[in-house]
Structures are given as structure tokens and as C-alpha cells.
């Protein structure tokens, strides 16, 4: 079970969190004309990298904040965690 540092609450066990997928995906702006392909990429296409990955976790049984977690997908090492609005390196 992972031990995740919530920037709002501190170290908490994984079972307080819900996984939220790739944190690098950016939603297309509202009212913007975009192609089917671009929209398709946003809705469905995700990379599944081995190694460092920036992902979203929701501290669902804690402060209910979405946070960004930089994690190694093969070793589970967590390098850094960020608040939702914090700039990532």
C-alpha cells in the first residue's frame, strides 16, 4: 500500500485516496473548435509510461482535494506531490 504525501494533510495511506489518471492531460478550452482527432485524443488516448509519471490522486477520504503525484510506475517511488494549482517541475 502506497504512502502518499498530501500537500494539505501530510502522509496518508493509499486507501484514503482515489486514483485519477494522467495529470498532464489538458482539457481543450470551452467553445473552441477542435477536430475529431484532437477531441478523441483528449477523451480516450493515454500514455502508459514505465518510470516517472505525473498523475492525479483525489484525497477522497481526507481533505477532498485533487493532488498531483509524481510517481515511478514500476517502482512506486514517489518523488514529489503537488497541490492542484501548484506548478509542476
Amino acid at each position: 500500500m502506497l504512502y502518499i504525501f498530501c500537500p494539505h494533510c501530510g502522509l496518508r495511506s493509499q486507501n484514503e485516496f482515489a486514483y485519477g489518471g494522467d495529470a498532464t492531460v489538458k482539457r481543450p478550452e470551452l467553445n473552441k473548435e477542435i477536430s475529431d482527432q484532437e477531441w478523441n485524443n483528449f477523451v480516450y488516448l493515454r500514455k502508459s509510461p514505465r518510470g516517472k509519471h505525473l498523475e492525479l490522486w483525489h484525497h477522497i477520504s481526507g481533505c477532498r482535494q485533487w493532488i498531483k503525484v509524481e510517481r515511478d510506475t514500476s517502482t512506486h517511488e514517489i518523488f514529489k506531490t503537488y497541490k492542484a494549482d501548484e506548478l509542476t517541475e
Binding site: 502506497l2 504512502y3 482515489a18 477522497i60 482535494q65 485533487w66 512506486h76 494549482d85
Partner: protein, 998 residues
């Protein structure tokens, strides 16, 4: 019955407490502190089971977790406990155990014929034998495999025992209380660290209990007793026996299973059977020791052949002799220690040492005691079927290839020692890559991967002095990183006998003309020939050899067999062991009961049960409840002998005719607040929200980004910047997360906050033509006329002194209101509604009547919004704004969602107006069409229309709009029904929606 093999003056069992138990129906006795193994051996019983594949006789091989043979079935409190290890299970009064994997009895086992058919059971026989024809699987192969294989039989009854989970945090977790565990725990505890020390056996001390050593002028056993007593008295230390740390998971999470009452006659009422500990440790010291390595020779699986360290422990801990004519077969000094214990207790052993001219303190002591020793000697084969009777021994040449002077000597047990294998399982599970150490011919952990360090013999330290020094230093070092107390205790002096190097020799060659089975894996019956065959057939990777031969895949996970297997593969392949590598160690280290894993999360405890504030009233009024997510909701209120069908019909009819009240507390409620709340809702919902006036409600549909409907519900503007959103019961939590996601990550510039208020409000839906009349009596000071409170209107009012909120919304399609009060007043509100409603013939109605009402109105719910439908499919396209953008809008223009024959919701009525259509039925054109019959869609919900008194269903079918009026068929292969139906509008009752606006 006398215990012929019990010694009088040695051992740690309680001689004052005799305990009787039965094995295979026969009564035996032992003493408190005995295991089943020690008690049976004391009684001269060595035959306890049959092997997995060949059904060869099985005895005892070890004395603890590594035991591959003595797997028994335990019966307690009328429950069966399969696959317990006789070497670990302590006896208690009335214990009943029996052998497994044998029929009709352990003494005469028909399956043993496999032993004579072994040409049919070579490596990979599972893959070779049970292949063709496929039809043989079901009738012949599977029953055969099931009957022949496997050990104990699990109980199929509900397990009434109690299992618990516990979460614990500590500075330092130490896994094993041998010399390294005790020393490091002591050093760390004295330095102020919060320590958990776990020991899998009942007694603390590990090898100190059996070895002839001295620490700080005390015997090993005395020293361990002193240390453990002091540790137990310290408030920063938790000491646990009968507790196995079996798994090392990510981020220093370790899991330990504590056997709390497995050794007690009957579980105490408030004492669990086992407890699973989830331990998050800042640092971990792995002090799990080492397991003696067997030697491989002919028939080395015969009962009576066992590890020499086990024989020693049976003597020193249990006061039990495993034999009276022991043969010690060793490649190192450990065998001598066992021989010395036999000798000291009046038994004359014979030592066969594979080494030519070894010399050390221990060997000298054995010689001085007059023990007979034969150097460069091996056991060629054990003789005897159900118990060792004699052994063929031989002189072995210096190159270890040739045997000479073969002779048969009498013996009743063969104690083997092939040196020691560190238990690196936990270190390996933590991600630590191990390395092969040629000095000890075994793998030891390399660089720490997580916060773990391995110490003592688990780290390949085989002298006590090294172990004690390393453990005191490590215990101090890792604790000081955390506490920074700099409190170092002094290291005691150690006295031990010096030993010399082991022989790099494990597998005795076969004499000419003999084909004895030489076993590597004792539980899965994997012999030398199986490995040879696998390699001949081209398997090279050790992982493949393992799976093909099943070496190390039994419940003991190869604790005694892996290294000998690797050694053999490297010898045949002319490689060194590290080139072959070892297979992956995975948790659990020892088997864990399913009950312990599940813990208290069984039955009703597997999830919370949520009840509305009106729950007690429902109970008193004969409500029959149904699970709605985690909520309990009244399904119907039973009157007399009513069935579900009769009751729900009565309740629904009463709503259409008079007035009904339904508990809608479970609906999800979310407060949406802030200056940008309207803009936010406008982006979340498909319809327009910017112009909703204060005091008005609106029905809304929200989508996922892929265009699928996520949820629906009404949201009311309470004040300028305050909205009250409702969601379906099932989606409440998901919708809140969804909203938080967009507010926190996508549109953080919006000044809006959301919070769940589901539990803050109790809700009652009042529906039916009499509902306004009732409301006028409930709220005499509030104008609830159609003009003052129109459809989709909202008012705050006073309910007999209680503040209430009235929403004029309707799910039933009737003139209806939803009244909300603070949860604590829920019951008061409910009782007032029932009391005042009497004169209007009010009746409470449950979810079944609610369903009926919404289905015949064509209102969609979860069975239509099932994660596959877009607004169009549910006839909600009128709510999709063309002007503004919203979540998921771009997806709606995808070609699959815009094709002309897209599915749409319709109504379905059976032509005979009497046959109910099963939910889930297919709608087809031709019921006799060739299979697979092309289906137009499926029936999503069915009811008995109370308006028309005939069955009515909703269905979502292809090109539904143009299907209205057609005669089709509803087919339910599950219920074997084909029903001719007519497709009608989904709005079966009041299609113009006059009633809700009345």
C-alpha cells in the same frame, strides 16, 4: 499409552499439564507446549500423510514454517481447518486432527499406486497427459486430478470465528526474535525507538533455545529470557509471539498475521482467532534467520529422514527423541551439534561426514564424547517404506563421483544437514536484489531497496559473535536515525564453539544399476530426474523449469528445495548458481487464512449500512427493505398477507388517486455556492442555467466527457449565489468528485465551492392529486397555491415550528412536492405528514411503487442511464443546449451518436395485456430467426401500470422513434419466454404532463 520417545529431564514443555488429543481417530497425549508434531513423535508416530503426486508415505521433515510434509486437517468447534502444519500447531485438550491426501487411510492408501506408475507422472505431466480430447476434461481428467491432488478440505460452512485487522505504526519493525532480533530490538528500544518485535513461534529466542552458547555469562536461553522480559516491560515496545510477518509491500508496509487463539481449545467469545496487522514501519530489520538445507539421496523422503536442526530442537525444546538409532548425514559442523545432543541424552549416533578431514572445536567435542564418525561417507539410500529401517551407506571418492564400500546399516532416523539457507524472502519482497555468496553457497540480500536491513543468519552471518555485534550496531544505528538519542548499550561477550567450512556437496550420485528416487521438492514430489528431464526438453530459464516441474510451487514455497534445485540445474548446465539465478519470492512467506485477510468485513459488515432518520417508523410500519447502494430503503409496506406485487400496486394506485409519501432522504444533495455558481452549473449541465431565477428549480442532465449521461436531477436556486443540487442515490459520491475535479483542476478560476449535504437533510416526497390540500394543512401560514408555488417552484416554510424547504418537483408524474427538513427533525416531519394526511387517505409508498410510477410516466432512471446512453437515447435531447458549451458536448457530434437509427427509449406493451415482460429481454423482429437473432434493443424496466391495469415496460431500441406502433417480440432466453408486444410511446400516462402542473 506411554511416550516411548519422551526424555525425562530436558525440554520446555509443561510436564505438569497433560493434554489429550486425537490423530486419525486415535487418542494420544502430550504436554502443554507441545506441537502436534512433537507430541506424535513422542508417541513414536512418524507416518502422518501421503505425498502430493505419488502418495508416498510422509512423516516430519522440519520443526517449523519450512515443514513440507506434515500438513494436516484440524477439526475444532465443528469447523474444519485445512492444511495446518503439524510442526506449528500447538496441541490443546480435545484437539482432533487427521491426515489428508490419502484414501481410505494413511496406512493403506490406494493412490500409492501412482508410486508404481511414476513413468506416467514425469515433469510436466499436467501438460502432457491431460490434453486430448477436450471432452475428456470435464468427465475424466478434472475429477481425476481433483481426487488425486490437493491436501485438506476447506469447510463450506460460514466461518463463525472472528478475525480482526489492526493498523500500527512504528519506528522499527523486527521480524524474528532469534539472537539478531533480540539484540537489535534491545539496542533500538534502549535508544528510545518505538519497536515491534515479531516472532512466529510461541517461544522467543530462535536458535538461542537450542544452541550451546554463552552470552554475557548466561546460556543463550537464559539471556533471551532476560532480554525478552525487559523488552515486554518497556512502553515503547510491542512484542508479539505466534506472529508471522509474511509480506513486505510498497512504502514500508508490512503485513503480519497473529495467531491469537489457534492454540486454545475454544475461541473465547471476545477474542479473535487471528489478527492481521498492517504495519507501516519507518525502518525494518529482517532477522528471520535461516533454514537448514537438506541433502539429496535415494528415497530421501522416507519418514524418519529429517533436518538435523529439527532433531536437535525436538530434543531441546520438546524433550523428544526422533529416533533411538540415529544416523547423522552432514556436509558441515551443524550435524555434529545434533549428534552431541543425542549423545548427551543417552543415544549413540553415527555421523557420516561428506568431508575428508575436517577439524574444529565441535568435531573435537564429538570425538571426545566417543561419537562414531565416518569421513568421506554418504547415505546412498534410505530403506524402509513407512519409516526408515536402515540405510545403504558408502564411501565417496574425493571427486564426489564414485561410490565404494556400499553397506547396509540399521538406523531408525536419518538427520541431514546440508548447511544453511538464509531466509531472504522478506528482503526480496521489498525489492532488494539478492546476490550469491560463494562462501555460504546461498543468496543474501544486497543493497537496501526500501528502509530494510537484513541481519544475523538471514544475512549470511553464521557465527553468534558476528550476529550479536551486527545486531547491536544495526539496532542502534537505525534507531538513532529516528530518535537521535545517542544512547548506546554495551555489547555482551559471546562464547561459542568454532566451526569449520562446509562441503560444497549436496546430491549423492546413484550407485550403478540403481534408480532410487532422489527428491528435491518434498511436497510436490519433484525428483532429480524431473529436473534432468525438463532440461533435456529444452527448458532453460529457472522460472520455466520451476513451472514445468512444479519445483518450489507447493505450500511451503520451496523453503527447503529451491537451492538444491538451483545447484542441480547449474551442475547439469555447467554453470555457477548465480548464472542460473533464483525465482521470484512473492508474499505470503507462509500461508495466510482467508478469514484473516477478510477480517471483520463479512456479511453486513462488508460495507456500512446507512439508514434515514425515518427508518424506525418504516420498521414499525412493516416496511420490507431493499439495498440501495449502502442505504436501506423501504421497498414496500406490507399490509396483512400482501405480496410485493399487491402492496406496490396498492401504494402506487393510492398516489394516482389520493396522496402518498415516500422517503427520499437518500437522494444525493450538494450545496453549490459562490459568485460563479451559475456559470459552473452552465458548464456542468447540458441545458441553460444562467437565467434560472432565485426560488426556482430546474431539471438537469450532466454528461461525462465521452458524451454518456452521468447523472440527472433537479437543482434549485436558493439565493443569488447558492444552489441546492440533487443527484441520484447511486451517483452522489461520483458527482461530487466530478464537480471537485473541474473546480480544482480544470476551471480553478471559477469562484465556487461544493459540499455534500446529503446527510444534513431528511426528505419526504408528497405526491398525488390531494398533495396540495395536504400541504395547505401542513403549512397553514404559507401560500402553496399553484400561482404562489408553481411547478418547479421553491419556498421556505414553517412546519409546526420547524424550518422546512418545499420543492415542487415530481418524479411520479403527479402533482407533487418534496419537503426537506434538517435530518434531526426528519422523523417529526414524517409523523406530521402521516398524521395530517390521514383525512386525505395518505399512504407511505416504497421504491417499488416509486418505480411503477416513474416507469409508466416514461421518466428515466438508473436502468436507462446505465453508462451507455447519451441524452438522445433517453429522449432528453430537448435538454441539450445548442448554444453553449458544456462537459461532453463535443462528443455528441461523433458519428456513432448522430446516426439516424440511433437507439431511443420507447414503451412496450404485451399484446395480450397480461404477460409481464422480464427486464433484460431482447426486442426482436422475428423470434424464429437464425441465431444469433439480431436484436433491436433491450427492455430496461418493467412494471404493472396502475393507470391502465396491464403490464408496461420501457425499452431502448434501435431507431425507436420510428418503431412506435410496430408489433415486435420480447424474448427472454433466461426465462424461456417469447412475448408478442406493441411498441408505444415511453410516456404512457399523461403524455402532456398536465398533472404535475395542476
Amino acid at each position: 499409552m506411554s511416550q516411548d520417545f519422551r526424555l525425562d529431564n530436558i525440554g520446555m514443555v509443561n510436564r505438569n499439564k497433560k493434554i489429550s488429543f486425537t490423530f486419525n481417530g486415535k487418542k494420544y497425549f502430550g504436554y502443554e507446549g507441545d506441537t502436534i508434531a512433537s507430541a506424535l513423535i513422542a508417541n513414536g508416530v512418524h507416518l502422518v500423510g501421503r505425498s502430493f503426486k505419488y502418495h508416498r508415505p510422509r512423516g516430519f521433515f522440519g520443526v517449523g514454517v519450512d515443514e513440507p510434509y506434515a500438513i494436516l486437517q484440524l477439526e475444532r468447534n465443528n469447523e474444519r481447518d485445512p492444511n495446518i502444519r503439524a510442526t506449528e500447531q500447538e496441541i490443546f485438550e480435545g484437539l482432533e486432527v487427521k491426515s489428508v491426501n490419502c484414501w481410505p487411510s494413511v496406512n493403506f492408501d490406494i493412490g500409492a499406486i501412482n508410486n508404481f506408475l511414476k513413468m506416467f507422472f514425469p515433469a510436466g505431466f499436467y501438460y502432457k497427459t491431460f490434453m486430448w480430447p477436450p471432452s475428456f476434461w470435464y468427465k475424466i481428467y478434472e475429477p481425476f486430478i481433483r481426487m488425486a491432488a490437493g491436501f485438506g478440505e476447506a469447510s463450506i460452512k460460514h466461518d463463525k470465528e472472528r478475525y480482526e485487522h489492526k493498523y500500527e505504526y512504528c519506528d522499527l519493525l523486527i521480524t524474528g526474535s532469534g539472537p539478531s532480533g533480540l539484540a537489535s530490538a534491545y539496542a533500538a528500544a534502549k535508544n528510545g525507538a518505538r519497536v515491534i518485535l515479531a516472532e512466529d513461534k510461541p517461544r522467543y529466542g530462535g536458535s538461542l533455545l537450542t544452541s550451546d552458547v554463552n552470552i554475557g555469562n548466561q546460556t543463550g536461553a537464559e539471556w533471551s529470557e532476560k532480554i525478552i522480559t525487559e523488552l515486554k516491560s518497556m512502553s515503547n515496545v510491542i512484542v508479539k509471539n505466534r506472529s508471522q510477518v509474511f509480506g513486505y509491500y510498497d512504502h514500508n508496509m508490512l503485513v503480519m498475521s497473529e495467531r491469537i487463539s489457534d492454540h486454545l481449545p475454544k475461541t473465547q467469545k471476545y477474542l479473535p482467532k487471528q489478527r492481521l496487522w498492517y504495519i507501516r514501519a519507518k525502518e525494518v530489520l529482517i532477522s528471520s534467520g535461516s533454514i537448514e538445507r537438506p541433502l539429496v539421496f535415494g528415497n530421501n523422503d522416507t519418514p524418519g529422514v529429517m533436518l538435523s536442526s529439527a532433531a536437535k530442537e525436538y530434543i531441546k525444546v520438546y524433550g523428544v527423541l526422533v529416533g533411538k538409532k540415529p544416523l547423522i548425514f552432514t556436509n558441515n559442523d551443524s550435524g555434529y551439534e545434533t549428534a552431541i545432543e543425542f549423545k548427551k541424552n543417552g543415544v549413540n549416533p553415527l555421523i557420516l561426514d561428506t568431508r575428508k578431514e575436517p577439524s574444529s572445536d565441535i568435531i573435537t567435542e564429538a570425538k571426545n564424547l566417543g561419537i562414531e564418525i565416518k569421513y568421506s561417507y554418504v547415505v546412498v539410500a534410505a530403506k524402509g517404506y513407512k519409516k526408515v529401517k536402515s540405510a545403504d551407506i558408502a564411501k565417496i571418492s574425493d571427486n564426489k563421483k564414485d561410490l565404494s564400500n556400499i553397506e547396509n546399516i540399521e538406523c531408525d532416523c536419518i538427520c541431514v544437514s546440508g548447511f544453511w539457507t538464509p531466509s531472504i524472502h522478506l528482503a526480496s519482497q521489498s525489492g532488494n536484489k539478492s546476490e550469491f555468496n560463494e562462501k555460504i553457497d546461498a543468496f543474501i540480500p544486497k543493497k537496501s531497496k526500501q528502509k530494510e536491513n537484513t541481519i544475523g543468519s538471514a544475512n549470511g552471518k553464521f557465527t553468534l559473535e558476528e550476529t550479536i555485534n551486527e545486531a547491536f550496531n544495526k539496532g542502534y544505528e537505525v534507531s538513532n536515525k529516528i530518535t537521535e538519542n545517542n544512547n548506546k548499550v554495551s555489547i555482551p561477550t559471546v562464547v561459542e564453539k568454532k566451526s569449520t567450512e562446509h562441503d560444497k556437496f549436496w546430491c549423492v550420485p546413484l550407485p550403478k544399476g540403481k534408480s532410487y528416487k532422489r527428491f528435491l521438492d518434498f511436497q510436490n514430489d519433484v525428483a532429480v530426474t524431473d529436473i534432468e528431464l525438463a532440461l533435456r526438453e529444452g527448458f532453460r530459464s529457472i522460472e520455466h523449469v520451476k513451472r514445468y516441474t512444479t519445483l518450489g510451487m507447493a505450500t511451503d514455497q520451496g523453503k527447503t528445495s529451491n537451492l538444491n534445485g538451483l545447484q542441480l540445474v547449474s551442475d547439469i548446465e555447467n554453470k555457477v548458481v548465480p548464472q542460473v539465478g533464483h525465482t521470484t519470492f512473492r508474499p505470503p512467506y507462509t500461508p495466510v487464512s482467508i478469514g484473516a485477510i477478510v477480517g471483520r468485513e463479512v456479511g453486513k459488515h462488508s460495507k456500512p449500512t446507512r439508514k434515514s432518520p425515518m427508518h424506525e417508523w418504516h420498521e414499525k410500519n412493516n416496511a420490507v427493505f431493499v439495498d440501495a447502494g449502502v442505504w436501506l430503503r423501504p421497498r414496500y409496506y406490507k399490509q396483512g398477507n400482501e405480496t410485493l406485487f399487491e402492496a406496490s400496486k396498492r401504494e402506487a394506485k393510492n398516489v394516482r388517486k389520493n396522496v402518498g409519501v415516500c422517503d427520499v432522504t437518500t437522494l444525493g444533495k450538494i450545496d453549490v455556492k459562490g459568485p460563479d455558481a451559475a456559470e459552473f452549473l452552465n458548464r456542468v449541465y447540458t441545458n441553460a442555467w444562467l437565467k434560472l431565477p432565485v426560488g426556482k428549480a430546474r431539471y438537469g442532465v450532466m454528461l461525462r466527457e465521452d458524451g454518456i449521461v452521468m447523472d440527472d436531477g433537479t437543482t434549485t436556486r436558493i439565493s443569488e449565489n447558492h444552489y441546492h443540487m440533487t443527484t441520484t442515490t447511486a451517483q452522489a459520491a461520483n458527482v461530487l468528485s466530478h464537480l471537485e475535479y473541474y473546480l480544482q483542476l480544470v476551471w480553478p478560476e471559477l469562484n465556487v465551492n461544493v459540499v455534500s449535504t446529503t446527510e444534513q437533510w431528511a426528505g419526504a416526497a408528497i405526491a398525488g392529486p390531494n398533495s396540495r390540500a395536504l400541504l395547505m394543512k401542513l403549512f397553514p401560514n404559507t401560500d402553496v397555491s399553484n400561482e404562489a408555488l408553481p411547478f418547479m417552484g421553491y419556498k421556505e416554510a414553517d412546519l409546526f415550528g420547524i424550518p422546512a424547504k418545499i420543492y415542487r418537483i415530481s418524479f411520479s408524474g403527479e402533482l407533487a412536492y418534496e419537503v426537506n427538513v434538517e435530518s434531526d427533525y426528519g422523523n417529526f416531519m414524517w409523523e406530521k405528514i402521516i398524521e395530517v394526511g390521514k383525512e386525505f387517505q395518505i399512504q407511505a409508498y416504497g421504491t417499488e411503487a416509486l418505480s411503477t410510477l416513474r416507469i409508466e410516466m416514461g421518466h428515466v432512471a438508473g436502468s436507462e442511464l446505465d453508462g451507455r446512453t447519451i441524452p438522445h437515447d433517453a429522449s432528453l435531447e430537448g435538454l441539450v443546449s445548442k448554444k453553449k458549451d458544456f462537459i461532453g458536448k463535443r462528443s455528441l457530434s461523433r458519428s456513432a451518436f448522430t446516426k439516424p437509427d440511433r437507439e431511443k427509449i420507447v414503451g412496450v406493451v404485451p399484446l395480450d395485456k397480461t404477460t409481464s415482460i422480464p427486464e433484460g429481454s431482447y426486442i426482436v423482429k422475428d423470434p424464429k430467426a437464425k441465431l444469433p437473432n439480431p436484436k433491436l434493443g433491450h427492455v430496461s424496466a418493467s412494471c404493472w401500470s396502475v393507470e391502465y391495469d396491464n403490464p408496461f415496460s420501457l425499452a431502448i431500441i434501435k431507431d425507436g422513434k420510428n418503431m412506435i406502433g410496430q408489433k415486435l417480440f420480447a424474448m427472454s432466453p433466461l426465462k424461456n419466454k417469447t412475448i408478442p408486444v406493441e411498441i408505444v410511446s415511453s410516456h404512457y400516462v399523461d403524455p402532456e404532463g398536465k398533472r404535475v402542473r395542476a
